[in-house]
């Protein structure tokens, strides 16, 4: 099993969710986060006062999928989240040792 974490632009969330739903991925955890990579921050002047937005608003998606589906999910996710500009975000993939469904103690991929 693989855990896929993606940091994406907030305005791409609906598109990404729809694309993942299209390949049968419904379950995910979504968080509102802030951060920056190469996009750096943003500065606005409002009535003579500088507003520095060092940490830009982003959305973080987390999901665990069967190993065999990981590539397809990543491809779909990246395709839907991409604009081609700096700030599109990142995807991180890691191994998952075990998954347990709390309700009935299902284990492994059947718990996903």
């Amino acid at each position: 099993m693989k855990k896929i974490e993606a940091i994406i632009q907030p305005f791409k969330l609906d598109e990404v969710k729809e694309a993942l739903k299209g390949i049968g991925i419904d379950g995910m955890t979504i968080s509102e986060v802030r951060g920056h990579g190469r996009q750096k921050g943003h500065k606005e002047v409002y009535r003579g006062q500088e507003y520095n937005v060092d940490l830009l608003p982003k959305v973080k998606l987390e999901m665990v999928v069967a190993e065999a589906r990981a590539d397809e999910v990543v491809r779909t996710l990246a395709g839907a989240a991409r604009t081609g500009k700096i700030g599109d975000g990142k995807i991180f993939i890691s191994e998952i040792a075990e998954a347990i469904r709390i309700r009935n103690d299902d284990r492994g991929e059947s718990a996903l």
Binding site: F11, D14, E32, E44, V45, R47, G48, P57, G87
Partner: protein, 840 residues
């Protein structure tokens, strides 16, 4: 009630089967209680009393004590021991007793107490004290029980204030968990405001109030409250039977099932209609509960009584204030027309005093008559706008809603009353969402942490909250109309309502814009890249002016935050603020760069004379002026041909407006006009200075007349106009006029707005943008404009706005036809800062 395919757990229980067949909850509860009584007594007789033949009594408490044991509710037992030593001695037998109860299928919740413990106030265990109001002897030592039963009334009598205080706190905390409203889409029928717990609150408070030294008080709620209780009891019983557990949440699925099977003697296919019945009953209980609670709190708090007395001084000829509630002195005055009722809500909105229950009933009783009165076109907009702008306006509007006055005034809002629209994120009915949105908007005034404090600042800058709040009240009104997009429906309803109450065209236009675009900023945040300049330009073109942007931002904040209490996260609030900032800056940039006939050809239509007049003015001019105003400006231009200048002064609703047209600009022209107004003691609220391609100058000043000079001496208007024309034409030196200007009254140090002056050389290709925020004072604009002139700067475009003692000024300036050079900028900035000083 009949239910097809009831859950298997229900089939096993005869009491539940009987209930599902008859729908008679009270009988079912009493029968279950009797069943449980038998089980408890039987097990106690076998397992407990042999080890504790005396010195122990078993009491039923809580709902079980009241003989209202719902199918899956806990069985609350109080094990009353003579002494702690005896309780310790019976520990093992007690354990066996409880285990057997559990084994018999009862979920027991027990407590072990001595009579002394039962007659102490437990500040941290109010439930124990209160549960004794419903205690009932089951089995065991009757003498011991009699001792407690004897002491209990005297204990309650002696500690009534403390017990009420604790119960009150517990209730307020519970209500707060549900945001103090019963209009939840999926309510908890036991715990929510207006639920069964509140029915019990009514009973408990009555019992405590009527307890005497030798007997506990008895609750006898009014028939409508008893009817509401029967409805809720039946509903809870049904939820238990349906889910086979202690489930009290009326989910959407349960609403569907209940609407289908609830026999009310009428067709109830629509769950939304059935839910209206639920809210009606919950409302009756909630209001009665709050009424009792407040009356009890007031009786038990001398501090409150003092405050209450102080508030009664706010009474006037129409309304009295008694026990922190407003009363009509002569309620029959409502029959003559709606004026008294509108003044009543203005009183509430001004002072934050809620209507008395009598006043509520008096208004409710006149609902039909009120409706008939309001059906006729009546110019009530000014009164309504006043109400909607006052410090406690949300309380007034909520009171109007609860008494039915709001729907009498606006039948257009009837379709969203208690309306459940199923949405995963929404928590409240549509009407409650609107009320919460308004309250959340007003709460911004007290916000002192970012980013909410910024929104609060924005709200304080709103000159007219009436249009904003009216838009908020109607923004979702279309949700009650089937088969139509809710925005179109809302627009249609708002238009009809505003036409009937005489809302001026300009405010109607502001309201309709806000309703039409109320989802725009949310959509942009959700689906567009905020850091893409195209996105920002797109929004700027939609909102067109800073005034509209401010109102739309506040409406969006209020709307989102009223979806549920957790949806407006700091993350989202910051995102919305970021969007506001970027669009604000784009609109300020456009002020100079977007010129009619250059960048916006589509707007330049009409007769050649009109086209020639408009060409070169900022696009804002078209966006902020009606056709009639443009016509009057063209007429003024015609008038100016002879002498090169023409001035017009007209009275607005609460201010005056001076418009001047000059054939050509000259250094200090704007300062001269501003100075003339200051010399007459006028206070400039807003100003605009634009020029077209031919170099025609059109300046508009909106000003207040604090001494009412023009109101009381109409001839002064002519003198002001003539003087302004002479000053603008250069025949009179404005400095001479200002020599005798009275010194302004300075605000206290703590109230002062720190001056901010900023320069932006990139905002425009040809001019430098200077933004100034400063404490407003008479003559400020003249001093600023003079500072520009004396530094050789020409004012190209000006936009001045004054709100809440704060002047927010935007100037586009040039020096010898070019942007201001850095070295000149430093000197100019110093002069401007000096001009902003209160004593300048």
């Amino acid at each position: 009630m009949t239910v097809e395919n009831p859950p298997s757990s229900a089939i096993a229980k005869p009491v539940e089967q009987a209930f599902l067949a008859t729908g008679d909850a009270l009988t079912a509860l009493a029968e279950r209680t009797a069943d449980v009584d038998r089980t408890v007594i039987e097990i106690a007789t076998g397992a407990l009393f042999p080890a504790a033949p005396s010195g122990l009594a078993i009491l039923a408490v809580g709902g079980y004590g009241r003989r209202q044991l719902f199918p899956y509710s806990d069985v609350d037992l109080l094990l009353l021991f003579e002494s702690e030593r005896q309780a310790l001695g019976a520990k093992e037998a007690l354990s066996v007793f409880l285990q057997r109860l559990w084994d018999s299928g009862l979920r027991v919740s027990h407590s072990v107490r001595t009579p002394a413990e039962c007659t102490e106030v437990h500040d941290t265990n109010t439930e124990l004290n209160i549960s004794l109001l419903d205690q009932r002897y089951l089995a065991g030592d009757r003498v011991l029980y009699a001792r407690l039963a004897d002491k209990l009334p005297r204990f309650i009598l002696a500690n009534r204030d403390a017990l009420i205080r604790n119960l009150s706190q517990l209730t307020r905390e519970r209500h707060a968990k549900f945001a103090n409203t019963f209009y939840h889409l999926e309510p908890n029928v036991k715990e929510c405001p207006g639920g069964l717990r509140d029915y019990q609150l009514i009973c408990w408070l009555t019992q405590m109030r009527e307890t005497e030294a030798h007997h506990l008080g008895v609750a006898a709620p009014s028939p409508d409250i008893q009817q509401a209780f029967r409805f809720l009891a039946r509903l809870r019983c049904y939820l238990h039977c349906q889910s086979g557990r202690d489930n009290n949440v009326l989910s959407f699925e349960a609403q569907d099932a209940a609407a289908e099977h609830w026999e009310t003697g009428r067709a109830m296919g629509d769950p939304a209609d059935w839910m209206r019945d639920y809210y009606r009953h919950a409302r009756a209980i909630y209001r009665a509960g709050i009424r009792q609670l407040e009356a009890s709190e007031a009786q038990s708090s001398s501090l409150f009584a003092q405050f209450r007395d102080w508030r009664s001084r706010l009474a006037n000829a129409d309304f009295s204030v008694h026990r922190e509630r407003a009363h009509f002195r002569a309620p029959q005055g409502m029959d003559a027309g709606p004026e008294l009722i509108l003044r009543f809500f203005e009183f509430i909105a001004r002072h934050g005093i809620r209507p008395s229950f009598e006043a509520e009933q008096q208004m409710e009783a006149r609902r039909a008559r009120l409706r008939a009165q309001f059906e006729q076109a009546r110019p009530v907009w000014p009164a309504l706008r006043t109400i909607l702008s006052l410090p406690h306006a949300p309380l007034a509007v909520r009171s109007m809603h609860e008494t039915g006055v709001l729907t009498a005034l606006f039948p257009e809002l009837e379709a969203i009353e208690c309306l459940v629209v199923r949405d995963f994120y929404h928590r409240y009915t549509v009407d409650e969402h609107t009320q919460v949105a308004f309250q959340n908007l007003w709460n911004l005034r007290a916000a002192d942490e970012q980013p909410l404090a910024s929104y609060g600042g924005l709200l304080s800058e709103m000159q007219n909250c009436g249009a904003l709040v009216f838009a908020l009240l109607f923004h979702d009104s279309g949700k009650g109309l089937p088969g139509e997009s809710h925005i179109h429906g809302s627009l249609r309803l708002a238009r009809t309502a505003m036409g009937r109450i005489g809302t001026p065209a300009q405010e109607q236009e502001a309201v309709l814009f806000l309703i039409e675009k109320h989802l725009e900023l949310s959509t942009v945040m959700q689906s567009r890249d905020l850091f893409d300049p195209q996105t920002i330009r797109g929004v700027a073109h939609q909102v067109e002016t800073v005034e509209r942007l401010k109102a739309l931002t506040l409406l969006t904040y209020a709307d989102i935050s009223a979806v549920n209490p957790n949806v407006m996260t700091p993350w989202r609030a910051e995102q919305l603020w970021q969007l506001y900032l970027m669009v604000y800056n784009e609109l300020t940039r456009e002020l100079e760069s977007e010129r009619i006939g250059f960048s916006v050809d589509a707007d330049l239509t009409g007769p050649p004379q009109r086209v020639e007049f408009l060409r070169g003015f900022p696009v804002r001019y078209l966006r902020t002026h009606t056709e009639a105003e443009i016509d009057s400006h063209m007429a003024l231009e015609e008038k100016s041909r002879k002498r090169g200048v023409a001035v017009e002064i007209r009275k607005l609703e609460s201010a005056y407006q001076l418009t001047m047209v000059a054939a050509a600009d000259r250094p200090g022209l704007f300062a001269a006009a501003a100075g003339t107004l200051s010399s007459f003691g006028m206070n400039i609220l807003k100003a605009e200075a634009f020029s077209n391609r031919r170099g025609l100058i059109l300046d508009t000043f909106t000003f207040a007349d604090p001494s009412r000079t023009l109101d009381l001496n109409p001839t002064e208007i002519d003198r002001l106009r003539t003087t302004a024309e002479r000053v603008i034409a250069g025949k009179v030196d404005v400095r001479q006029l200002l020599r005798n200007r009275p010194k302004p009254v300075l605000p206290t140090r703590s109230a002062r707005v720190p001056a901010k002056v900023s320069f932006d050389g990139k905002a425009s290709a040809t001019a430098t943008l200077v933004e100034i925020v400063a404490e407003d004072r008479p003559g400020l604009l003249y001093d600023l404009a003079s500072a520009f002139s004396s530094h050789g700067c020409n004012i190209e475009v000006v936009l001045i706005d004054t709100q809440a003692h704060k002047a927010i000024d935007v100037f586009y300036i040039t020096a010898e036809g070019r942007k201001v050079e850095p070295e000149q900028r430093e000197r100019l900035e110093q002069a401007l800062r000096q001009a902003c000083e209160p004593g300048a």
